[in-house]
Symmetry: D2
Subunit: 400 residues, 4 copies
């Protein structure tokens, strides 16, 4: 139990929906079985090291506001320091079943990466990035991580005026190919994940959204080697709902992991807030259930305290709130599925396709001449209501 | 000459930049050769029948404002009426070299298409849409059209709650396959074009942007059968510059046609304005030159007069303004290319790749271990300035 | 009871949260008392004649889809027709307590209003608009309406290039002054309301948001004669939450009425959807409770069925869903207020102001020299956490 | 001449439009007279100390990239250090006519200001902010500054859930009142300026846009004591064009200064780029000319190099580019005004108001009954075209 590290924080227990205790779960009950799976196995929650333990509260207009008790300013940026940290982590893993959900390499903070990592205009930076990813993959493997994420933090451009986009995309593909080869060489079986993001810090990131990343993977023959890590705030920044991005990933066979955060519908930058909207959480869990779960991926809290939230307690409240929201989403999604009213509405809506002509079309056996003939037979059409308001009512009724 | 139809409008002639005559070209000089090609062949301008001749000025809050002299309210919506119109068009083509840049079928206005055409929940609507596209392809072929455009006007969804997105996308693929087969059957050699648009009228259109359309085409094995018709206002609605969408299409081998219009940077809907921004036009023409021209595609004015512009003369002013803007863009793009300062800036920026190690990486011969070894040799890196402000200065200096 | 008009729709009754009947209320219980007031008196719900009874389903890309049984195409656009309609309404009011929540005049559909009504470039249109508003005010008064709304449908500009904004704003002020005078002359005591909207159909509407409207009213000395009708979808289009606009109106003494609808966070136009988000409804009701209620204003459903929702039943489902959402919002808001945890959090946050120095400042008695002296005494400051995540947790816990 | 400080940079001279020298002006010619005023007096250009001399290149995802030769990491944050700096500045002013365009106090970087300065939840922070502004006003006065700017960097909220907006706005008003009193006390005659910004770093800034700031000033009786500093990128973030914000400020008698920068139409955060769009610059200068100039305000380059632009030379290129763009804007604006075609178009558009009835309305002498009578006399109206495309063509023709 983490009491050793947070002496003033009690163990967080499930107390049920009526609890008023901010340091308790109201909806997340780790061992409770839902649809044949324990809640903890549905979610496989993960804390983000950088946001939660090293986040400073800085923003484009503000200095650090957090002075965490454990923060002594040590910078782990060198392979040597990293090795020490890793050995300590390995030691702490003994007698625990905590493993990294995934590892990653940060290729955007240091000035050397100002033009990107794998897409830098400088070949030396490309080589440096490769060395860094190599090390991060080794470490992830060593600590029992089950996924590895590429976050294209500066893989993109600020202006096309000074950019050779075609050449940069080719370099990115070469980089991913080398990563796949190295993964196999070291026997790392984890999933490789790409994390779509439309922009920020660059004006255009090459992994804009799920469909853009899928097109890239298909174009360069990498579609079977990668999955996607969908982040909700990145989804909304690209003009999509989180649910849309999850479904797009799923339909392309690419749903691998979820960065469980949220944005602000009225601001145009990545706010990385903890998700508190139960409706959105419900949509997310509908996708996850359809996907048969998310393992070996999970839900990573790529979310940060607001700059003005400076108590250690706030870290716990935020994570509890995020976990409870998603757990509530699962409970609602199950309620909707078990009621069956919504899926029945959808089934009926498409029932004209469950016919002979529908089957012929879906099997690719209906050419334009045949279809024209059928259209004449059908005569003028009476198209039924889409029942959107009813679907919304059913959905909202399940919220609790 | 069109004087027959517009008796009060004189023939529009090129008068050069200093002309104050609104009914004259200042930059577009059809027969002038630029980079070895006549201006008219660079652009292959096209007028949109629906906007220019049938546009009413209606908007979501307003009734028709245009009462064009030729508009008698006749509706050509039936194959029989259409055939009469087509025969008249064929007749008028005699002694003229005017051909349709492309044909299309409108699958979104009529209530039968309220759930989409090829992606309707109703199989009968799918058949009806097929019959309509079949006819439109025949007619396009008959009139000597060189392209055929699919505009996915309602191919999308309003809410995922009542939508089976996977099934709808499969239907769309079947529809396109049947279109390809029919095209070949009737000997129509025109390019098939998909026109990306992110949303409106639906909340999500399946052809969101160039990358999304490319992913769809790749997934369903249609990538060699289609190209894209990039519309500038659709580009900006999807969060991209028009230049970005053109470059994305080009790098995917899909740049087929351009819908030359523009939006308003502060509004969130498709305003379909005539392009008047010379900087944007210059970027567009840089892409077109890189593409070696756009034929058999061209520039279609999918642009409409403002609702408040109700004079016949306004139609001419708007098209002249649009043509002049794009012609000015071509002149500027050529100036930039001939000066060579911008391409030299880009070449130098990537010069570290024109080396042995750069070549090895680009040929896929540099694995992570080799790259790590090289990274250690390189030592700490000095990354040069990206010179964005200089690139912008060079670009702006060429505007005239 | 409305059975006379909708024979196939049963009377809508309150059946409680567990009901699965789409034609029943789950949260709205008209006669139930909440905080000393009946639910029906908190809300004073109103149906929008234009959307609900005359809405066609047309959109910028689509024709009418609704063929309501009562719609015979009759156009009531003339004072004579209007008089007949009004007399019928007056007749139907007998034995009923249904009154118009407000009346308005529609100054944007007809081509004569294409440049605006009170801000048209044409003085004749200004006069016509005045005559129309005069009649609408008379009729509202006659039918017992308690408010009158000005919706600035085209009071704005498409481009500043052809617009004299200063002159147009002066004309708008003159128009409002004349309306105030006429209201008094005919003894109409209803509240005059301005409805802020940032844009659409024009690129810029003069009543952009609550603060902009307030500035206009103050500048022209009209601040005591008007209140605001806040529409939620207009709020989000202007970059604000609905709650923000309500609070801004309230703090300026201008909260008069609410157009209860919602938009889509990912689209840039006015979708006028029925509100189904319980969190947003809760925020709205917090403002209404703080305002001591909204009467003589109320909640008007300025919301329309989706174009694809074509059953008469859908009209009922949509309104029930909207009413239930707002009723659920009231119940949640009351729960939050009665628990008191959120208001206590806020009270504590500002407690440093409940001191001698705080009082001096708030009374305007602390000048810069005094403050500098105090600042030196205070020494370095320890600024406490804003507890945003805790506030969000408390808020979300109250959702049910 | 600045050669002393930048030995490798030659003096920047005017070389005219055909120059290819990036370290020369092509459009800005300081001593040239335009409309009776020297160019330098039209613009009164100012360099931003923080961006240009202390900017680090940091962004939310990246560390510093700039290592300017003069940057030794010294932090001037204390009145004592500041006094030294000021004395040095005073010394350097001797024999120069360089004066601060304006002074300001930065109330947002330090953690003490995380909840705002004048609107902090902590009364001690309010006092500290007052002391800091007091000092900054004194220093501005001492160095001959002619304006003082309040930038409400964190005067706003992150969420209304934990915020007492009414109380915070009252505090802000008290703060401004005290600033006005102190200004008078020390005999500082400079203009006090508020700089509107909609959001970032906070979710909502109280000085959202020009109209919002004007409403605040009117509500609290401060309208005669302040003007506005309009920043173009803030304008676009609030959904307006820069020209709109300038015109709104001007029509409210509040146009005081311009922060000459620009944003990116596709990104949702403050990019603070140097303005390079000649069309936008032309619109800006049209407003400035209408305002009779901007003195004692001026054009401040609140703009920063891109993070990837790391050469000292880039600083010069960026400023030259910005100055030239605005100078080109002035030349274009003058061309448009002197041609007179655009103002004639506008004059004619409103000519129906230059009549007896128009005069009666504008003088407030036309009541609704009179207007109804006139409307009947007018009969059905023929509303002329707004000629937007012609206006755009005239505008674009003047660009060179």
């Amino acid at each position: 139990w983490q009491g050793e590290f947070f002496p003033e924080i009690p163990q967080i227990k499930y107390e049920g929906p009526s609890s008023k205790n901010p340091l308790a779960y109201r909806w997340y009950n780790a061992e409770e079985e839902i649809l044949g799976k324990k809640m903890k196995d549905w979610f496989r929650f993960s804390v983000a090291f950088w946001h939660t333990f090293r986040g400073t509260g800085g923003d484009p207009f503000g200095a650090a506001t957090k002075y965490w008790p454990w923060e002594d300013g040590t910078n782990s940026e060198s392979n040597k320091n990293l090795d020490e940290v890793i050995e300590l982590a390995k030691e702490l893993q003994k007698g625990s079943n905590i493993r990294p959900l995934w590892g990653t390499a940060q290729l955007f903070l240091h000035p050397r990466y100002m033009h990107g990592g794998a897409t830098s205009s400088e070949v030396e930076v490309y080589a440096y990035a490769a060395a860094q990813v190599k090390k991060a993959m080794e470490v992830t493997h060593y600590l029992g991580g089950e996924n590895y994420v590429f976050w294209g933090g500066r893989e993109g451009y600020q202006t096309l005026l000074n950019t050779d986009m075609g050449r940069e995309l080719d370099h990115l593909a070469r980089f991913f190919e080398a990563a796949v080869a190295y993964k196999k060489k070291i026997g790392f079986n984890g999933t490789l994940l790409i994390e779509p993001k439309p922009q920020e810090p660059t004006k255009h990131q090459y992994d804009w959204d799920a469909a853009t990343a899928a097109n890239f993977l298909r174009k360069y023959g990498l579609i079977d080697e990668f999955k996607l890590n969908i982040e909700c705030n990145h989804a909304t920044l690209s003009g999509h709902t989180c649910h849309h991005e999850l479904e797009t990933a799923r339909l392309n066979g690419l749903l691998g992991n979820i960065d469980a955060n949220t944005g602000d519908a009225q601001t145009g930058w990545d706010t990385d807030q903890f998700l508190t909207d139960v409706g959105e959480a419900t949509m997310i869990m509908i996708s996850v259930i359809r996907n048969g779960g998310i393992a070996p991926g999970g839900f990573n809290f790529d979310a940060k305290l607001r700059r003005e939230s400076t108590d250690v307690e706030d870290l716990f409240i935020a994570h509890i709130s995020g976990m409870d929201t998603i757990a509530r989403g699962l409970r609602n999604a199950v309620k909707i599925l078990e009621e069956g009213r919504l899926s029945e509405l959808v089934r009926k809506r498409y029932s004209s396709w469950d016919t002979e002509i529908g089957k012929q079309i879906e099997e690719g056996k209906a050419d334009f001449e045949y279809l024209e003939k059928k259209a004449k037979e059908f005569g003028e059409l009476k198209v039924p209501s889409a029942k959107q308001e009813l679907a919304e009512m059913i959905f909202q009724s399940a919220m609790f």
